[in-house]
């Protein structure tokens, strides 16, 4: 079984293991498990072996190796990879091969990471269960009848099932944290602007952030330290030095003040999830943290605010998929240009994407803009102020990541609103642009993973890592029942 990011990098660096062996092990796991789990939309076996070979050759020549030398990192299909199909889980980009690498990919390559393939996701990152993938859902390795969460479900599954020790996802309203929670993995949504979005196929530009999944907290810290930083090609990326996240993982948490918002322990929260999360918070208190209640009074408006702003931006971001330059074009004799657009987009987009494009188009329309878009922007400011006020008193805020553990495939597909509510605890941090992560806590009696969400002020990822690493040390690692040799 594949070990952790840091262990693999160390083994490859010291020559204990060849990068090619690690890559082959990753491919074997994919070969064994993925026909059932469907974490990958495309497996890049040959390119990965080639990448690994280059790492081994570099070592043989005595060249210094990067922080992720030989570490397999699975890549969400919304992130552009030169020469590797990138569909964002949509039929409209079926077969689309980007001519350039996203900045995060360039950085991972430079650090020596290798890419087993592109992971399954809800189409254009719109969904919370992975069931909106145009290529069929990924499944939860803890129970294949259940969803892995979304939208970065494939990345979460790849890591949970140890097909890769780490993966990249993107989080717009919880798309890293929620699947991390549902699959028992560590998932980080960095501060908005901490990681370059250049090359991330956009869903909602003011919310999208790329972040890592990993089997452990330190692995996530290392991947984030590689991909974070100012990018001249993303004007919204922040020009602030990147902290040493790995060092933060070993730092004492004694005296850190943890806020517990009552709004996150409200109606709709599964009692087993609540018990597990409260136990984790109590453990942090035992380790010397000061736990106190905080108020985030506008939390209940987050879902409505998010679905106005995110869909508005999405309606515009997805306009480029028009069949003119790339991707799907319905090739038949069209009466006019509008017919070509209409038929192409009708055939290329799935139901949820269409629903959100319509919603977003509506809220930006003349006569409705002020009542919806503008009002939502104002509420977003109030949500941001909630956090500013709370962080005046505490260093971090802890809550459940998802109100429930993983649900059955198909369970919420007929009820979009129920699906949207599964993100109720992750949306506020996205709207506020702050740092947040999900780390596993004790599973339910039925053996389903539960996630603890740790939120910290903008650019304080280190605080999240310190707390998550301390908590992780208290919790024996759980593995999904996939017959791994222990």
């Amino acid at each position: 079984m594949l070990s952790t990011v840091i262990a693999i990098a160390e083994q490859v660096r010291t020559g204990q293991r060849k990068a090619v062996e690690v890559a082959e092990e990753s491919l074997r796991a994919i070969d064994t498990l993925d026909h059932e789990l469907h974490a990958f939309l495309a497996v890049a076996a040959e390119p990965m072996i080639q990448q690994a070979r280059l790492v081994d050759q570099a070592r043989e020549r005595g060249e210094p190796l990067g922080l992720l030398a030989g570490v397999p990192v699975a890549i969400k299909d919304a992130i552009c990879t030169r020469g590797l199909v990138s569909t964002a889980g949509s039929k409209i980009l079926s077969g689309y091969v980007p001519p350039y690498d996203a900045t995060v990919i360039t950085k991972l390559r430079a650090a020596g990471a290798v890419f087993p393939g592109k992971t399954n996701m809800d189409e254009f990152a719109m969904g919370s269960s992975n069931e909106n993938s145009a290529y069929g859902p990924a499944r939860n390795p803890w129970d294949c009848a259940r969803v892995p969460g979304g939208s970065s479900g494939g990345s979460a599954v790849a890591v949970a099932a140890r097909m890769a020790p780490a993966a990249l996802g993107s989080d717009t309203g919880g798309s890293i944290r929620q699947p991390a929670s549902l699959t028992g993995t560590v998932g980080v949504k960095p501060t908005y602007g901490r990681v370059s979005r250049f090359g991330l196929i956009a869903f909602a530009s003011s919310l999208d952030q790329i972040g890592p999944f990993a089997t452990d907290v330190r692995g996530a810290a290392r991947v984030l330290s590689v991909i974070a930083g100012k990018d001249p090609r993303d004007a919204t990326s922040l020009d602030v030095p990147v902290d040493d996240y790995e060092a933060a993982c070993g730092k004492s948490i004694r005296g850190l003040r943890i806020g517990v918002p009552e709004e996150y322990f409200a109606q709709g929260l599964d009692p087993e999830v609540e018990a597990s999360v409260r136990a984790a918070i109590a453990s942090l208190e035992d380790d010397g943290c000061v736990v106190k209640p905080v108020k985030l009074p506008h939390t209940r408006y987050a879902v409505a605010t998010y679905y106005v702003l995110a869909t508005a931006e999405a309606s515009s971001n997805l306009a480029r998929f028009d069949g003119v330059r790339y991707g799907l074009r319905v090739r038949e004799a069209h009466d006019d240009l509008r017919a070509m657009y209409g038929k192409t987009r009708d055939a290329g987009f799935g139901a949820e994407v269409k629903r959100r494009i319509l919603l977003g188009t509506f809220v930006l329309s003349a006569g409705y803009y002020d009542a919806y878009y503008l009002k939502a922007q104002r509420v977003r400011t109030l949500l941001r102020r909630d956090f500013e006020a709370a962080f005046g008193d505490v260093d971090a805020i802890c809550s459940p990541t998802s109100p429930t553990p993983a649900w059955k495939l198909g369970e919420k597909m007929a009820d979009p609103l129920a699906m949207y509510l599964s993100d109720v605890y992750t949306l506020p941090a996205s709207l506020a642009g702050i740092a947040a992560m999900s780390v596993p806590c004790a599973p339910t009696r039925g053996g389903l993973p539960v996630g603890l969400q740790i939120m910290a002020p903008a650019l304080r990822e280190s605080t999240c890592f310190s707390l998550a690493a301390a908590w992780e040390a208290r919790l024996p690692t759980q593995l999904p029942p996939l017959g791994f040799e222990r």
Partner: protein, 476 residues
Amino acid sequence: MSSVYEAVIGLEVHAQMLTRTKAFCSCSTAFGAPPNTQVCATCLGLPGALPVLNAEAVAMAVRTALALDCTIRSRSRFARKNYFYPDLPKGYQISQFDEPFSEHGSMVIDVGGETKTARITRVHMEEDAGKNLHDRGDRSIVDLNRSGVPLVEIVGEPDLRSGVEAAEYLRTLREVLMTLGVNDGNLEEGSFRCDANVSIRRVGQEKLGTRVELKNINSFRFVQKGIEHEIQRQEAVLSAGGTVVQETRGWDEKTGSTFCLRSKEEAQDYRYFPEPDLPELVLTDDFVARQRQSVGELPRAKRKRFVETLSITASASQVLTSHPKIAVFFEEAAKLHGDAGRVANFIQSEVLRDVSTRGLEADLPVSAAQVAALLRLVDQGTLSGKQAKDVYGKMVRTDKAPEVLVAELGLQQVSDVEAIEAVVSGVIAANPKQAEQLRAGKMGLFGFFVGQVMRETKGAANPGMVNGALKRLLEV
């Protein structure tokens, strides 16, 4: 236009800025490259690509706003204008909407000897779209080289009252942009484009009439003719008891009339919203001050200065400031020679004939130093005015100094008294009848004798000396 109605016109001008690279990526803006060779992920609208603002474009747009006396906002936002069209790769244009970086400007224009101040609503920057080409049979193709080229948009208040005023507004604005080096003023290649909002109302009425947006008016002549035609059309509609319909109309040069492009019902809802991929545009006082310094002298001020300090006529000043390169040429020659009036006359009568301009470039046939040197030879009496013109003809497109040409051509003005008197005597002897009449007081014949002497000397005789000799020998 009858005296019952008054026209109300406002112009929107889109001018391509002369930056080296595009507004939001580093592709070249050079015109005329093979289709789709100056493109990248960003200006092709590839999935995942992001815009990064070009600082040079911001500087040019700010200079334009300052030259038009606009107020600069220290913080402004870009916005997305959403619509589908094959030449618009992202499905939206990055522009500015409710928070432009500048507003409340004005520009003075001269119309029929009067000056008029036209208010400017706003100046903002945006990106150009590509070009759809429909000349390939049943297929249309798209060239995206132009996609993302930075534009400065200048929106004027409805302060203009006639097609003539509109054309003058446009000429003045074009001159300003060219002087700033922001735009090449090229209407034919579409780097300077204009739309007009035209309405009419009863004279004395405050409320504006229903406006029609006029497109495809890409020459000064079309602007004037299109607007005049549209005013007449609206007047005819109202006079017949009808109502003007809000719509977009195009100008058809062949029929000399406007035609409906789309009605108000077909008008698009552009769903503007703040561009989330770009942070707020922050213009510091320091940046604005630096741009203000680099605005320099504008054409109107230059014209005034030429008249007031160089003492040339208003009409000469108008001609000599018609292109930035010509103005520079004139000033340099005037400075080298010293007599601006004579330099102005010579440039207008000789040099401008051979000047061709293309955008901001001007192909001047000689250098300012050559002109100054040539006129100095006339001052010194080495060349006559007529000889100077001949020498100029030889100078065109060579870099030979006039002194060299004079030597090569053997052209020296004859200033030898005895030689001239000898010719004059000969001419008088050959025309005894005319000499008699002149002596009897028919002074009109004096010019005849001057002409004869000049013909004999092939124009080389010093005219002053010829006059003197004639007077002496004819005793008049």
